[in-house]
């Protein structure tokens, strides 16, 4: 079971983390807002993209079939993987069959989701992450802390130290030097690896094209040099038409990094063809379910699958801004992680994710495909509570407390009297304007929250005393 609450205190107390989060997130948010204010019909684009997604998800099976048909026509092979384990097994079997010792990887959240690297390592196959951020966290043997910027929690100094310690880089705090070191090292890997594994941002059903967005050119290299390319995608990534890409790319890139366009958008149609000088000779597209069809089956929760993984909701979330990505203890962090994790896995495994939000609504405002994250969070909370209630049919105390509360609230005089009593009572527990209540159920509630003491005079008293003055 993942316990976010067990991680938050440490995250909040980590001064370095707090500084890194503050610095990088404010930069990202700023450029995102600039890039979006540049587009007068942003709302129209959002609605369009959402409609395309809603439509596609309602006919997902048909579009996946169409995609498979087109990919096969072009000499690629489609693998249907119902679980992460099946997808991993496919990669392992292929690597063994081809006697591959080294794999280069482009950034793929799906590969994190199915813990591919761990399995490859166990099978003694070297898997090199080629995206710089992803490589940094791999070197540090950590998990990514942000779906777009995996090493966002690390400062330049920490990264430099890591490169000096692990790669023997000459001491330098310069981001350019660090990047140079990575470029040189990675070249070797690119030229010797025999399988390239990447994620997928979109897959176009009508043409069988997979689309991968990137800035560094590590994906371009991963799909050009090795003789085999394996692309991993969740079944929700398919879109019907090429023409829809104009809108999706505009929304994705501006939301994710605040650029007008990423350096490279790769459109790949199967393996190399006759006469082409390079490119993979074999192309495999893995379609992964891993819990997605379960989400698809719920009319309201289905929209979770519209997500294009732009990361904007993380950047804008007051909870993510304070606790960072690792505290979520899951592949996907922030608001999207909060709704996706308990659905992909189960509410028993991730019972706290739905509560890791203040429900401020910023994630919905910023989401380029208008996913109603706050409402989904509430729905999930309902489910968690429903399960709890079923298990503990008793709860007589809570019921009684609510009945008393209702009775008090129904009469102004009862309410005022209760206030007066509480004001007298609280004197024993007050400390600097806050209440310290060291007994249940209050002690649990105030463990992570402040309970302010009631002010000396109620609003009603203040109001009537001011009325008396002329």
């Amino acid at each position: 079971m993942i316990r976010i609450s067990a991680n938050t205190q440490a995250a909040l107390a980590d001064q370095k983390l707090q500084r890194n989060l503050r610095q990088t997130l404010s930069k990202t948010l700023h450029s995102r807002n600039e890039a979006v204010s540049d587009v007068p019909n942003w709302e129209e684009l959002r609605q369009y993209a959402r409609d395309v997604k809603t439509h596609t998800l309602s006919r997902l099976a048909d579009y996946l079939l169409e995609l498979e048909g087109k990919v096969s026509e072009q000499g690629g092979r489609v693998i249907w993987a119902e679980t992460g384990q099946e997808a991993v097994q496919f990669v392992l079997d292929l690597a063994h069959e081809k006697r591959v010792a080294k794999i280069v990887k482009g950034k793929s959240m799906l590969s994190e989701e199915i813990h591919l690297n761990e399995s490859l390592e166990r099978a003694q196959i070297e898997a090199v992450e080629t995206d710089l951020g992803e490589y940094i966290v791999q070197l540090a043997t950590e998990a990514p802390s942000h779906i777009i910027a995996p090493a966002l929690h690390k400062s330049r100094g920490e990264i430099a130290d890591l490169f000096v310690a692990k790669l023997g880089m000459a001491p330098s705090q310069d981001a350019v030097e660090i990047t140079k070191t990575a470029r040189k090292l990675m070249r070797e890997h690119f030229l010797t690896a025999r399988i390239g594994i990447t994620g997928v941002n979109f897959a176009v059903a009508e043409t069988g094209t997979i689309v991968i967005v990137e800035n560094e050119a590590n994906v371009r290299l991963s799909v050009s040099v090795p003789e085999i390319h394996i692309a991993l995608m969740g079944i929700e990534k398919v879109i019907p038409r090429t023409s829809d890409l104009a809108v999706f790319l505009k929304l994705l890139v501006r939301s994710a990094t605040g650029q007008t366009m990423s350096s490279y958008v790769n459109f790949l149609n199967g393996p190399r063809r006759n006469g082409e000088l390079d490119g993979p000779r074999e192309f495999y597209l893995v379609l992964l379910d891993n819990g997605r069809s379960k989400i698809l089956a719920d009319d309201f929760l289905r929209q979770t699958l519209a997500c294009i993984r732009c990361g904007a909701c993380l950047n804008v979330c007051p909870v993510y801004q304070r606790i960072g990505g690792h505290a979520y203890g899951s592949t996907y962090q922030g608001p999207i992680g909060a709704i996706l994790t308990p659905q992909l896995r189960s509410l028993e495994e991730a019972p706290e994710h739905a509560y890791a939000s203040s429900l401020c609504g910023a994630c919905y405002e910023v989401c380029p495909v208008k996913i109603e994250i706050p409402h989904i969070l509430l729905r999930l909370r309902e489910k968690v509570q429903g399960e709890k209630n079923q298990k503990a049919a008793h709860l007589p105390f809570e019921k009684l407390a609510m009945q008393v509360w209702a009775w008090v609230m129904c009469s102004p005089s009862r309410y005022a009297r209760l206030g007066r009593w509480l004001r007298i009572l609280q004197k024993n527990f007050e400390e600097n304007g806050k209440l310290k209540l060291p007994f249940p159920p209050f002690n649990r509630w105030i463990k992570h929250r402040d309970l302010p003491a009631l002010p000396a005079r109620s609003f009603k008293e203040l109001y009537s005393s001011s009325e008396k003055q002329p």
Binding site: Q23, K27, T28, N41, E44, L45, Y48, D51, T54, H55, R59, L60, A61, L65, W80, T130, L132, P150, L152, R156, A175, T179, R187, L191, V204, G208, N215, E216, A217, N218, L221, V223, S224, V225, P240, R241, S243, L245, A246, Q259, T260, M261, S262, S263, Y264, V265, F267, L268, N269, R272, R273, E276, L277, D278, G279, D289, S293, K294, A297, D299
Partner: protein
């Protein structure tokens, strides 16, 4: 698995696939917009719509990329952008970095490596500047489209530290709506890349660093 997916969305209430694409911006001077956007990403723009500019432009590209030779993508590039006729003047390249001509049109006195047949990875990794022709360009974002076709490959435009792209003015589109209406996905080759500026990263404290795994320099030469 497909059955499971089908059952899951069987009852789903879908909306129709939207027909009309939202508006994308139009520009009175698409070339100026293209240039502005390209330069914003760190790319370098050259206007060679007057063919007589080409020698000077190429000289400048080679100087800026500190290169003495160019690896050309294919012969078509010369015809398409009118190169053989304008570059016949050897003096244009007599400025110190005229090293050698490589089994292609000796009389051009242009340091050339042609990729077909001699496509060696080790050689590619050594090249400092490569050239290709863009199928399309987009003013909205300063992007060019690189297509892989028979006789060409994916690596030439990505391995060298500097890359120069020839774009003809008639192939410059306004915006991405136009682009994706006419993008020939999968029709000619197995890969197509939309390139916008040089390779970059912001993975270290969101600080922009140009040139990670791909070209550090991207030049675009606009021809007529």
């Amino acid at each position: 698995m497909l059955e499971k997916v089908r059952r899951a969305c069987d009852q789903a209430e879908g909306v129709e696939l939207p027909g009309q694409s939202p508006q994308f911006p139009q520009y009175t001077d698409p070339v100026a917009k293209f240039r502005q956007e390209l330069e914003r990403t760190g790319g370098v723009f050259f206007d060679a719509r007057q063919p007589k500019e080409l020698p000077a432009v190429l000289t400048s590209v080679m100087k800026q990329s500190d290169s003495t030779e160019i690896y050309w993508e294919d012969e078509q590039l010369f015809q398409r952008h009118g190169l053989p006729f304008t570059l016949r003047n050897p003096e244009a390249f007599a400025k110190g970095f005229l090293v050698y001509s490589f089994h292609f049109r000796q009389e051009m006195k242009l340091p050339i490596l042609l990729n077909s047949k001699r496509y060696e990875r080790s050689e590619l990794a050594r090249v400092s500047l490569s050239a290709s022709s863009a199928g399309l360009g987009v003013a909205e974002t300063g992007s060019v489209v690189h297509e892989v076709r028979s006789g060409a490959g994916r690596l030439l435009s990505v391995l060298p530290p500097a890359h120069v792209v020839f774009l003809s003015e008639k192939d410059l589109l306004m915006n991405h709506a136009e682009l994706f209406r006419s993008l020939p996905l999968g029709q000619y080759g197995s890969a197509l890349t939309l390139v916008t500026g040089p390779s970059r990263t912001a993975d270290i404290e969101k600080t922009l660093v140009i040139g990670v795994h791909g070209p550090k320099q991207l030049f675009v030469i606009l021809t007529s």
